[in-house]
Structure formats: C-alpha cells, structure tokens
C-alpha cells in the first residue's frame, strides 16, 4: 500500500483533506458569524462585509438583551425545567430500567413491550391530548407543565435496562446472601455502577430539553413562563433588523451552557447519539 503511493493517490488524499476543511468551515462559519456579530454595535451589525474576527469587541449588546426582554427570567425557567427533567428522568428511568433488567415479576415482558411500542410514536402526533391533560391538571401556562409531562421516558428506561443487563448477576446474589434487601442491593451495588449510563441519559435529556421549542410554544402563553428558545424567537419577532446584534447576543447566551457542558462531557454527548443505534 505504502509503496504504491502514486500521484493519483496523493491527489485523492489532498482532495479529501480539502473537502474536510471546507466542510468544517461551512459547519463553523455561521456559528462564528453569530458570535462576532453579537460583538458589533447594533448600527454596524447588518453591514457587509461581515466581521469574522472581533478586533474591537463591543459587549453592550449583552447588556441590552437584558434590558429588552426578561432574559434572566427565561434563563431561570430553562434551568429549572431542564434541571428537574434531568433529575426526574434519572430517577424514574434508573428504577424502571433496573427492574426490567434484573427483577423478575409477572407481566414484565408485556409491560416492557408496551414501553417499546410507545417509543415508536413521535411526540408531535400526541401533543393535543398531552396539552389537554396538562390543562386538566391545572398546569397550563406554567413551566412545570413541561416538567411533569416529561418525567417518564420509555427510551430512557430502555437505555438504562440495556446497561443493567450487562452487569453480572452474581454481585446481587452475593449481596442478597449477605442479607441485603432488594432495594439495598440495587442502590448500593448496581446503581453505583450505572454512572456512565446515567451520565449519557442526563446529557441526552439536557441537550434535548434545553433546546426544546415545540412544547413550550404550545404549553406557554405569558412571557414570564417562557424558556430561552421561545423567548429569543419572541425577541427576534419584536425587533426590526436594526438590532440583530442584540438578538444574536441572546442566541450566544442560550448556546453557551451547551458548549461548556460539551467541553467537559464530550464523550457522553457522543455516547448519547450512538446509544440508540444498539437497538
């Protein structure tokens, strides 16, 4: 192979690198433009050529976005909603995933089969009844409506079950002989080993619900209840093209937490994507 490095092969490899570099520029360009434009004064923001590097960054837009809309409030709403769903699903899915994998009880496979069947049904096709139920529970227009209707997850249960299935049963049996109860065995032995799966589920939920637009749009009416994506779209709609740098400052603030988390937990983001593929 190495000996046959012809001119043709070298050209082929060069083209490959060139395509990758161009693709990376296409992938990153819009994000870079968003950041640098958020650092231009509102008057210059929509003037071309665009500025790809901020020589004189102007941070006033980041202050302005707080004056124009209650972005602090949106931020708190998003943090609370996303945080509660992440914690809630970690609990419900770890418990049920363990039971479906390790505990034998009558009806187990039937109930798990129903869970798998619901996984096939996209949220948008059942949103009307979900909205009716949320309203019936007195949660309409409350950020809590987003939390309560997302506390259970068939996919999360499936993900945790797959992980627990790989764990050795002998550990639990040994603990049981030593006199540990069912729940104690789960908590002290198996839950402690489930860290990677829990992290994957948590990251998956964070990225999904932090970015969510559809349910907030339908469930929430008053601005005080808005989460970040919904609030930013409202801001964009209310402002003319004169202050796009302010809107983009808000966009950057909304993306920042995901980027920070990605830096520290990259492999769980990747694991979250490949997790479903093992189905």
């Amino acid at each position: 192979m190495i000996h046959s490095t012809s001119t043709l092969a070298r050209i082929g490899r060069g083209t490959g690198v060139a395509i990758l570099v161009i693709a990376a520029m296409v992938a990153l360009g819009p994000l870079l433009w968003t950041v640098t434009t958020s650092l231009r004064t509102p008057a210059e923001a929509f003037t071309n050529p665009p500025q790809w590097f901020s020589l004189h960054p102007d941070f006033s837009n980041y202050g302005a976005v707080f004056d124009r809309i209650p972005i602090g409030r949106f931020f708190v709403n998003s943090v609370v909603v996303t945080g509660l769903i992440v914690v809630g699903q970690t609990i419900t899915c770890t418990l049920s995933g363990y039971a479906f994998a390790m505990v034998s009880f009558p009806g187990r496979s039937v109930i798990f089969g129903i869970f798998l069947a619901t996984m096939m049904v996209p949220l948008q096709t059942i949103i009307i009844p979900v909205f009716v139920i949320v309203r019936y529970l007195g949660l309409s227009d409350s950020p809590l409506s987003l939390v309560v209707s997302a506390l259970g997850s068939a996919f999360g249960t499936f993900l945790m079950r797959q992980y627990f299935l790989q764990m050795p049963r002998e550990l639990g049996e040994a603990a049981r002989i030593d006199g540990a109860g069912h729940f104690q065995t789960f908590l002290m032995i198996y839950a402690k080993m489930a860290g990677p799966a829990i992290a994957t589920l948590a990251i998956l939920n964070f990225s999904g619900f932090w970015a969510e637009f559809y349910r907030p749009l339908i469930f929430l009416q008053s601005q005080d209840s808005f989460t970040l994506p919904l609030g930013l779209v409202g801001l964009q709609g209310n402002l003319g093209t004169g202050s796009i740098s302010v809107v983009l400052a808000g966009v950057v603030l909304a993306i920042l937490p995901s980027v920070v988390l990605f830096v520290f937990a990259q492999r769980y983001f990747i694991a979250g994507i490949t997790a479903g593929a093992s189905r």
């Binding site: 992938a27 819009p30 009806g107 309560v148 970015a211 990747i270």
Partner: protein, 310 residues
C-alpha cells in the same frame, strides 16, 4: 393507561408459576411504578386519546361531539392540508438523503486520517451545530440568508451572482430550510458512521488490500455493507425526525411564502391550536403517524434486501 393498569392487575393476580418470590414481585412493581405512571399518562393514554379525538368535533370550550369519520373525510378533501403532506414528504426525503450522504462522506474522510488530534478537531467541528437549539439556528440562519442584507447574498454578489430569494420564493425557501436542517443534523449521522466505521475489523480491511482492492472498492464492497445496519438505523431515525419538521419553517417562514413550507406539523398546529379544532388536528396527527409507520415499514422492507447482518 386503562390497557396498562388492566395488564398490571391481570398479571398481578395470576398464580405464580415461576421462582420469583412475593417480595421480589412487589419490589419490581414498586420500581417500575413511577415510570409506568408517567409513560401511561403522558404517552400511552394520549396515543389512544389522539385516535379517539379524531372521531370528534371539539373546540375545547363546548363539549365534544361525535362525528364519526367526518374529520378524515374532510382531511382527504382539504387541499392545503393534503399539500402539507406533499411538502413534508418532499422536504423530509431531501433532508434524509443529504444528511446520510454528507454524514457518510465526512465520516469516511475523517476515518482515513491517521492522526487522532486531526480526527478530534473535525469531529468537534461537525458536532458543534448540534449544540445550538433549532430555534437559535433558525434565528441566525434567517439573518444569514436575508435577501437584502444577508451575508450569503453579499458573498454571492462579490462573485457577480444576483441576490437569491432564499426564504422569499416558494421552492427556494423549502430548499433553504432543507439545507439548514442538513447543516445542523449532518453531525448526528456523522457521529454514528464514524463509530460504525471504527468497528469494522482491520483484518477484513487488510485482507481486501492484499486481494488488491483499491480504496473506493474497499469502501463500496467492504465498509458500506459492514456498516449497513447503522445506515438503516440512521435513515429510520432521520426520517422520523424530518417528518416532524416544525421549528425551522415555523420560525423562519411561518410556513410561507404562501404555503410552500407549511409542513404537516405546522398545518396541525394551525388547525389544532390556532383554530382550536382539536378533533380535526388529531385526525391530521393520526394520518401523520400512519404515514411515518408506513414509511418506516418500507425502510425495513427495503433493508431486508440491502442490509447485511453479520
């Protein structure tokens, strides 16, 4: 819910014919309790309710009225809603094909790089768009593709190309939204394919090299067949997502110009939540669900011939 609880009750009283102890049974039910409750109330019941509601006329305020198949009869004679199915299908197919092609192409190229840090740099670059919400992406892409002031038209102008109505012409708007969706989602298929390509055994690749197969032949005859289960999975997931396309057209074009980017989910949102026709909206939802299930079924059928399982 009724189905689930009935199931739980029926199986709970069934005489124990297997070794699980009484305590273990109680423990099992306690552990799945929360999940069963939430999945039942917010997924299982809504599936049944969505189907049920589609036979009613209901404006939320007055009480629902049974209308039989009227909503479905109306749907199949409702030009704009039927068109939204066509729009969705066209855009979804374009998104899936491009997303798979771009993701696979980039994955193959990155996989050929030997240096780990080079791979990491490109992997991060292609993943970053996924970190932004579709709302954020729709906002900045809306500015970039602006007809008058947008950066894209500015650079095209430098090349002497007149301004393109990216979001203000029907066909162009649908195409632009497809491209923006692919821009963001290609990272998803890319990550899947990189992982799959890494798991192709090296001895198989070496064997094909010894047999004199070139890089292209190895790719088409060895690598792609070996990762075909992942390609099927990516195609299924991407299509289910694309059939629900909502955020980008809703934010960037409000389904327009005209109804050029009015997807099924936007039509359903308009009928259901803006006109408060919950019955009709549910009928649209059920037909969308049926369409998704049929297409997914077709994908698995096609996969029987095309996918290679080891």
């Amino acid at each position: 819910m009724t189905a689930v609880t009935a199931e739980v009750r029926r199986t709970a009283v069934k005489p124990r014919s297997h070794p699980s102890s009484h305590g273990e049974t109680r423990f099992g039910f306690a552990m799945i309790g929360l999940s069963v409750l939430f999945v039942a109330v917010f997924t299982a019941i809504p599936i049944v309710a969505s189907l049920g509601l589609s036979f009613f006329s209901w404006d939320v305020i007055s009480s629902p009225e049974f209308v039989g198949l009227e909503n479905y009869r109306r749907l199949f004679t409702d030009g704009p809603v039927l068109k939204s199915f066509g729009v969705t299908l066209g855009m979804a197919l374009a998104i899936v094909v491009l997303q798979l092609t771009v993701g696979l192409g980039l994955a193959v190229l990155v996989n050929q790089r030997r240096l780990i840090w080079v791979r990491t740099v490109f992997r991060t670059a292609f993943y970053l768009p996924l970190l932004a919400s579709t709302a954020a992406v729709s906002i900045f892409m809306g500015y970039l593709f602006d007809y008058k002031f947008g950066v894209v038209n500015y650079y095209l102008g430098l090349l002497g190309i007149p301004n393109v109505p990216w979001l203000t012409n029907g066909f162009a708007a649908a195409s632009t939204i497809v491209l923006i969706a692919v821009w963001q989602q290609a990272g998803f298929t890319f990550v899947l394919f990189v992982a799959a390509l890494m798991s192709v055994p090296t001895d198989v690749l070496e064997a094909s090299q010894i047999d004199g197969a070139g890089p292209l032949r190895t790719l088409l005859r060895i690598k792609i067949p070996l990762i075909s289960p992942t390609i099927l999975f990516a195609a299924v997931v991407a299509l289910i997502n694309a059939m629900q396309l909502f955020d980008q057209p809703y934010i960037m074009t409000k389904g327009g110009p005209g109804s050029a980017t009015t997807t099924v989910t936007i039509a359903m949102y308009q009928k259901g939540f803006q006109n408060l026709q919950f019955g009709y909206g549910s009928a649209i939802a059920i037909v969308l669900l049926a369409a998704i299930l049929v297409i997914t079924g077709l994908q698995f059928l096609a996969a029987r011939k095309l996918v290679f399982y080891q």
